[in-house]
């Protein structure tokens, strides 16, 4: 499944998510539900900044896996899995656990689309050739 399909599934599944963007460790956008590329880049940059600042919260070398910021008029979620990241904005007072679950699923689905850091895909079923075809 590619990033666009994973994001399309995400917004279809979760009505609480308004916008989502997939980006990598360098901040480059891999996919977004936002039509405007500038907005997608802006969301990715702000989310990367949020993660960076969250990393500085603890002095120990412990990685931040997810962040949730609850604001008066909406929430911001960021989930990190190795080099892959996903950020999303939601309505106010969403079901936090459900949003995190959906974002992690999306991140996993998008990772299955390929690339160096992608986990192994399910092996394709092979059909044996009949002796007379060989």
């Amino acid at each position: 499944m590619d990033a666009a399909q994973a994001l399309a599934d995400l917004t279809e599944i979760s009505s609480q998510i308004e916008a989502a963007v997939l980006f990598d460790a360098s901040g480059a956008v891999q996919g977004s539900t936002l039509a405007d590329e500038g907005k997608a880049q802006g969301l990715a940059e702000a989310a990367a900044r949020l993660l960076e600042r969250a990393d500085a919260v603890r002095a120990e070398d412990v990685a931040v896996t997810q962040v949730e910021a609850a604001l008066a008029d909406g929430c911001v979620f960021v989930v990190r899995d190795d080099d892959r990241r996903i950020a999303a904005t939601t309505v106010a007072n969403p079901t936090v656990g459900l949003v995190f679950y959906d974002l992690k699923s999306c991140l996993r689905d998008a990772a299955g689309s390929g690339g160096a850091g992608a986990p192994d895909e399910k092996p394709k079923r092979r059909t044996r050739k009949k002796p007379d075809e060989a």
């Binding site: 702000a46 900044r49 969250a54 931040v64 910021a69």
Partner: protein, 68 residues
């Protein structure tokens, strides 16, 4: 009559004080941010805390970027 009036006044004062306390407690939710770590730990900061400010600023930027 006077006793009844005093009881009524006491009741009204109690209701008023209760509503003020409830409104202060639940009426205005403060912005907050929760950070989850790889080792299972989680920290939560509410708006007003020194640590919360840079995190909430970035979150507000993210929300504005998506909605602008």
């Amino acid at each position: 009559m006077k006793r009844r009036l005093l009881a009524l006044l006491g009741f009204a004062t109690g209701v008023l004080a209760g509503s003020v306390v409830l409104r202060r407690q639940f009426g205005k939710r403060r912005d907050r941010v929760e950070v989850y770590f790889d080792d299972g730990a989680m920290v939560s900061y509410t708006d007003g805390a020194v640590e919360a400010s840079p995190l909430l600023d970035a979150a507000r930027d993210a929300l504005n970027a998506a909605r602008s």
